[in-house]
Homo-oligomer: 446 residues x 2
């Protein structure tokens, strides 16, 4: 493969998610030759992926071609390629098709994938939501479930087609459950002749004691109330013990201090399950750990140095969901960095700056995560917001929170055109309660 | 399956393309129970499908859920189902999943598919453009060809990746070739580091003597000139004799009256071929012919009666691309109806009206096609228009024709929202020369 700028330091960045994108941008104007490699041709705005899965947005509205984003940044070569391994000794990145990318500095931002907690057989029945393909599959299952219900004459089987289970009460699970309820209550009624879509059940199953566990307790409580107002049945403290083609097995452990075995088990009949529970680091993490002898944490993330470099391999940095990083604020104990997109961006920028430090022979600095707050949407007019302000944390819920969430997300959407179109799509969806991307081209089950 | 309105005449309409949609609409308010069955959940605005294939529009912009379109037409039940056969004796439509739809009146509007003229092995190397899946596959191949070219170091192999062949000089072929040239010349330059996308070759191969053969000769000539101005190599009188994974074999017959065998054969090295040459009636046509003893023409279309009913089966009508229909204008010889969307719509409306005539015991009337003209786009600012006017045919080309084409297509787009979004997409594409739907999620070859 041709390489450009042979005399300049070669920086390879793996992954065009938030971390990789920000690292690449931070090196704009630097006298380096960057190769940005991703296994798709686009940067995906993941915070809105649930909108594609629920037919509210089209895929191109949240996906921008990487090549186009960096067309004017002359030191970047975009490459479509699937990274399978890293040879830390030879300092090369190996691609699935046999391609080899030599590097002087490597930033790995390969992200995360789903984890089924050792139950990989659940994957076929409960797709997760990480890629556009995932979103299309979930959209297909949701829309086809209503179609099947319309054709089903047996009451029990019909009820199963009209039952939707979302597993995991984090931000993605809450968004999916809330939006599913909206589809059933607001979008579809009037379109069917044999069923009432508004009678569909949406269940949100969470193993822990509350939804949005990363938020303050009052906001979790508000989120729960807002979900229930939308018609979602919220089941906290409920562990999933089985998923198959016709339902989900749930176990509710006995309350602590209770006498004897008072745990209860039940089954929810459903053909549409969304997995929003477990996240595991990209498999590339394991390869990298083997290549560099860097330790992994239990989630398969690399335990990086304070400056985000790998122990013994300062020329390799890891950022985003693949890194088990700590935030180093002066005078405070190091704190784990959360797996959110602002953190990935900040890590990407830090790793890029550290590359420049190393090239210049300057010492590197520990990474510090600046937490500007946390927000999650629940559905139409429903959200919770917890942001830092000079006056202390600012917390609000409901419609103002939803508006704040809306504009924050549109502001951060990559590309001017996307923002306009997404705004129009949402404005029209808001007034009409319609969701325009209700397209299923492939009706056969995958 | 539950059926509604058991005492009312049951009308089953197969296919939610232009013909089926218009037939369903024409029965609005009628005292019948309509079941509209299609194998996808959406009506596809096929005249703009080439825009999805060339990354100019997202799929939802040209696809509207059938169920949504008829939500307020109370006599319609929408059904997602794949019709495999028709039992003309029992008067039932059979679905792939075992479903059975009884009918009193049947309108079949199942449309057309690709025909490779007996060379089905070409299909894998030269996808046609009929469904959204087709469009995604063509988009994938186009975008990945540029990616492969960027990574290829061998000059000859790189040239093959940068060669695009469109087979068939009808409206679809002309649109595809013109838009491909635009992508290469206007959209991609500046985004690659090792290739110049503007050097890509786009060839339009047509077996007949001119492109847009259904148009007047002067407009064909103009279309050819406009294509060449965009950088397309137009090869008329060139027959394709072979297609494989690395190229297309072309044969140019000796000119009539020439002495001896002066035909020439050549090969075009390419990995991206689009098939826009042959159209065949839906396979359902053959089933229907067997079930009713109705004769087929060479393209597999049913030779319908003047009123679009089948001979001996007045309760079955066939409309759109599946019908070999004739137009019966008073005092004129019957003329074949062309395979265009206005004709399908008019046939759909006629068949629906004839159903009402039969229910009322009135005689049916022969179908008459009203030809309001013909238009084809070629690319940015390029089109040809030939429309009927009280003063005789009105023909124009270039920018005015393109504007006319643009507004005509947006006007006929189903659904108000789509029109607005398509307009915005086009306005932004026009000014920026960008194409926003450049998304490939699945980089593995299918």
């Amino acid at each position: 493969m041709a390489t450009q700028n042979n005399n300049k330091p070669r920086v390879v960045i793996v992954g065009a998610g938030f971390g990789g994108l920000e690292a690449t941008r931070a090196l704009a104007g630097a006298d380096v030759g960057i190769t940005l490699v991703d296994k798709t041709n686009h940067h995906l705005f993941q915070p809105l992926l649930y909108q594609v899965a629920t037919a509210g947005l089209s895929a191109p509205a949240i996906a921008a071609p990487v090549r186009h984003l960096f067309r004017t940044q002359a030191n970047v070569t975009s490459l479509l390629g699937d990274v399978t391994a890293i040879d830390a000794r030879a300092r090369t990145v190996l691609l699935k098709d046999g391609g080899v990318l030599p590097y002087d500095h490597l930033i790995v931002a390969a992200g995360a994938t789903h984890s089924y907690f050792g139950h990989d057989e659940w994957a076929a029945h409960a797709p997760g939501l990480k890629t556009l393909e995932d979103a299309f599959e979930i959209r297909r299952r949701i829309l086809l479930a209503f179609e099947q219900a319309e054709r089903e004459t047996d009451a029990e089987r019909r009820a199963a087609w009209l039952t939707f289970v979302v597993i995991g009460g984090g931000p993605t699970g809450v968004e999916m459950a809330g939006t599913l309820a909206e589809i059933a209550r607001d979008t579809l009624p009037g379109e069917f002749r044999h069923i009432d879509p508004a009678k569909a059940r949406v269940l949100l199953v969470e193993g822990g004691p509350r939804v949005l566990a990363a938020m303050p307790e009052s906001l979790s409580e508000s989120a729960r109330r807002q979900l229930e107002k939308l018609g979602v049945e919220v089941r906290t403290g409920a562990r999933v013990t089985g998923i198959d083609g016709s339902g989900v097995e749930v176990s509710v452990p006995a309350p602590a201090g209770g006498s004897g075995d008072s745990s209860s088990n039940y089954r929810i009949g459903t053909h549409c399950v969304v997995w929003a529970a477990g996240v595991a680091a990209s498999p590339l993490g394991r390869h990298l750990a083997e290549a560099t002898a860097c330790p992994l944490d239990r989630a398969g993330r690399l335990l990086v140095e304070p400056d985000l470099g790998l122990p013994g391999h300062p020329e390799i940095s890891v950022v985003g969901d693949l890194a088990a990083a700590k935030s180093h604020a002066p005078g405070q104990e190091p704190k784990p960095v959360p797996g959110v997109s602002p953190a990935a961006k900040q890590m990407g920028r830090h790793a890029a700056t550290m590359v420049l430090c190393r090239i210049a022979g300057l010492p590197t600095e520990p990474f510090r995560y600046r937490d500007y707050g946390n927000l999650a949407t629940i559905g139409r007019n429903s959200a919770v917001v917890d942001i830092a302000s000079p006056l202390g944390p600012l917390r609000f819920t409901g419609f103002p929170a939803w508006l704040f969430w809306l504009f924050a997300h549109i502001y951060f959407l990559i590309g001017f055109r996307n923002r306009i179109v997404v705004l129009i799509d949402w404005a029209s969806a808001y007034w009409s309660k319609q969701r325009y991307a209700r397209v299923v081209s492939d009706i056969e089950p995958r």
